[in-house]
């Protein structure tokens, strides 16, 4: 049991000491080694230099798609397209049906008489229907 504890606590200490050693090697003993290393293992060097491309990966996989969806789907399609489209569409529908309805008001007195008769019949039918329902 104690061995395991020693192994677990000892390991970080050894790694830290190793780090110290490498730092001393790269920065004080022979400062030209890092450059040589970078040239010999170029692939690994660029990978580490760009932090394993985590930021780039995150940006491509999560950030950009989320911004794209927010702009083009949520805002443009749902907000402005579907909801505002419906709301404004109702308004436009009202205006257009009004524009058609006003054709009835032609200024022709005889056509008015026809409309009055049609209206009277309609109201009578409606009243009788309601009367039946109430009774």
């Amino acid at each position: 049991m104690m061995d395991l504890v020693h192994a677990l606590t000892g390991m970080p200490v050894i790694i830290a000491l190793l780090g110290l050693l490498i730092a001393w090697w790269f920065y004080i003993k022979s400062p030209e080694t890092p450059k040589k290393l970078a040239q010999s293992v170029r692939g690994l060097y660029t990978l580490v230099l760009h932090k394993y491309y985590i930021d780039e990966l995150y940006n491509t996989v999560i950030v950009q798609p989320l911004l794209w969806i927010s702009t083009n789907v949520l805002w443009r399609v749902i907000d402005e397209g579907a909801i505002d489209g419906t709301v404004n569409g109702i308004g436009r529908g009202m205006r257009e049906s009004g524009a058609h309805m006003r054709q009835i008001q032609s200024g022709n007195a005889r056509s008015y008489a026809t409309w009055v008769v049609i209206g009277a019949v309609g109201v009578t039918v409606l009243m009788l229907g309601i009367w039946e329902m109430v009774r």
Binding site: L66, L67, I69, S70, T71, L74, W75, I78, D79, I83, D84, V87, G91
Partner: protein
């Protein structure tokens, strides 16, 4: 205080008294018009503060009650406040002087009309919060619309007419349905005795089964009320009036809209929808909760990508008010308290954001984010305060936004784990849109040459910013001062919305999910029990209320 029993009426109508005073001034006398409006609103704020010492904690009944016959026997002038409306009244009286101050130099045309509109709105909004009669409530509710319509339509920005018409049509559509529901309720009570519009009476009649509602009727009534309030809040998908109205309104209009008017909706839900129709509220809680969650995440995502700074802040309201709705429909003491606290806190924070935006607009006359960049260099004070307000809006402890959001999330978690998980993501998203927009607007080098010479905050603007910042800090640190005064009301609301055994209705099987037992609130004393306490009969309640008014200092 000889007029103690009419204290609340005085608070409601004082701003209206300022209107004839303003009318007496000459049109060109801008200086005195502003001064009179400011003084009236400041006096109003001070006298509204006197509600605090008179307000008795631990008292679930309405306080400062005034009751008089008005029209016939059915319509009464009945007003009063409880732990729910107290702080909303104070929020209104707090924000109105700031709205007047921020319009000091930015309004040049029809100055008199503008300040009259603000004062009328103040009376109307306070009236909504204190009305205990459905008719009176509806009257004030509609009265808020007209001055706001003119405010957006006359003093707004480029697309102001479109925004004003959209605002009024949306809201009217909802309120017409609410009017039908109010008349229906009146008729129901009329069939079982004397008809009344009185809220406490109707509530007692419903609770005691004097008026029995078939489940379908209750659902319809609930929906009619709820739709009116949901449009006002606004709940997804009824929100599209909001970005237009907020963006096109002048700064003061945005402050009042976001600061107080949105809360008329959430207030209405807590005052009417839940206690009057608890069964329907529980039956629909799942749908409404999901809509609120959609609003939280959707509002945040759409806010993130807005190219217009003001529109961005407008969309944040959709997100933040989603939290409030979620808290309300979790039916726990703590989430109710969180919801009320979040209403107040959102009013101060988002009001503050709009005030800051207004200061930037006064200098640059644009809200496009790409026109800004590095603004912290020419105006460090304004941008520093803006950051502070933004941090409170994204719920950074120990500022006010944190308290509300946290209480709500605790309560929501007790009711529905998954909701809480999704809602928490809204907290992360709010950090994204607020900090990212702040980074693009304020940090870095000045990118647009014009911005280099902008002036920093004037004395008047510093007063506004410091006031808001102090309120934010105070609410964050001294939150128990607020929640303690809400406790009695929220406990009462939990009892009223508890549906097990509340009303045995054979036709209405209790929904599968019942409210969890009332938890002790934020430091609340444990209530005696969670059963529905038999409330006093309607008439006795009224008598109680009226005597309470006389006893009240």
């Amino acid at each position: 205080m000889a007029t103690a029993s009419h204290w609340l009426s005085f608070i409601v109508f004082l701003p209206l008294l300022g209107v004839p005073a303003l009318l007496c001034l000459r049109d060109e006398d801008h200086v005195w018009i502003r001064r009179v409006a400011l003084v009236v609103s400041l006096v109003e704020f001070v006298i509204s503060l006197f509600l605090l010492p008179g307000f008795r904690m631990g008292q679930p009944d309405y306080q400062f009650v005034e009751y008089a016959n008005w029209i016939g026997n059915a319509i009464h002038y009945h007003i009063g406040i409880d732990g729910l409306s107290l702080f909303l009244v104070l929020l209104t009286t707090f924000l109105t002087p700031l709205a007047i101050l921020c319009s000091w130099t930015s309004i040049h045309e029809n100055v008199k009309g503008f300040f009259i509109a603000i004062l009328v709105i103040e009376t109307a909004m306070i009236g909504v919060f204190v009305s205990l009669d459905l008719f009176l409530f509806f009257l004030f509710w509609e009265l808020t619309l007209i001055p706001m319509y003119f405010m957006i339509g006359i003093w707004g920005h480029d697309r102001r007419i479109y925004a004003a018409v959209k605002f009024i049509l949306y809201t009217m559509f909802g309120s017409i349905l609410m009017l039908v529901a109010i008349l229906w309720l009146y008729n129901l009570s009329n069939a079982h005795g004397t008809g009344t519009f009185d809220l406490p009476t109707l509530q007692a009649q419903l609770q005691h089964g004097i008026i029995s509602l078939p489940p379908t009727t209750e659902l319809l009534l609930f929906c009619a009320f709820f739709l009116a309030f949901a449009i006002k809040v606004p709940l997804f998908p009824f929100h599209t009036w909001l970005p237009d109205a907020h963006t096109e309104a002048p700064t003061a209009g945005s402050v009042i809209l976001a600061g107080v008017m949105l809360k008329l909706g959430t207030y209405g839900i807590m005052r009417f929808c839940l206690p009057l129709f608890p069964y329907a509220a529980h039956r629909l809680a799942h749908i409404i909760g999901v809509l609120a969650l959609i609003g939280i995440i959707y509002g945040a995502l759409v806010a993130t990508i807005q190219p217009n700074f003001k529109r961005l802040v407008a969309y944040t309201s959709v997100s933040h008010l989603g939290f409030v709705i979620l808290g309300i429909f979790s039916f726990t003491t703590i989430s109710f308290q969180g919801a009320i606290f979040q209403m107040i806190s959102h009013g101060v924070s988002t009001g503050g954001l709009f005030l800051g935006l207004g200061m930037i607009y006064d200098r640059r006359h644009t809200y496009e984010i790409k026109e800004f960049g590095g603004l912290v260099n020419p105006m460090p004070i304004i941008m520093a305060f803006y950051l502070f307000i933004a941090l409170s809006s994204l719920a950074l402890p120990p500022l006010n936004g944190f308290i509300g959001e946290f209480l709500i999330l605790i309560g929501v978690f007790q009711y529905h784990h998954v909701w809480a998980a999704f809602a928490s993501s809204g907290a992360v998203l709010s950090a994204i849109y607020l900090l990212w927009s702040y980074q693009r607007v304020a940090l870095g080098e000045v990118t647009v040459e014009k911005n280099r010479s902008l002036t920093d905050a004037s004395g008047r603007e510093r007063v506004i910013l410091v006031t808001i910042a102090l309120a934010i800090l105070f609410m964050g640190i001294a939150s128990p001062l607020f929640t303690r005064r809400m406790e009695a009301t929220t406990d009462n609301l939990v009892r009223q919305t508890q549906i097990e055994g509340a009303r045995q209705d054979a036709k209405a099987p209790p929904p599968t999910r019942i409210a969890p037992p009332a938890p002790t609130g934020f430091g609340a004393a444990h209530s005696a029990g969670n059963r529905l306490t038999p409330a006093a009969p309607a008439q006795a309640r009224l008598v109680n209320a009226t005597t309470a008014a006389q006893v009240n200092p």
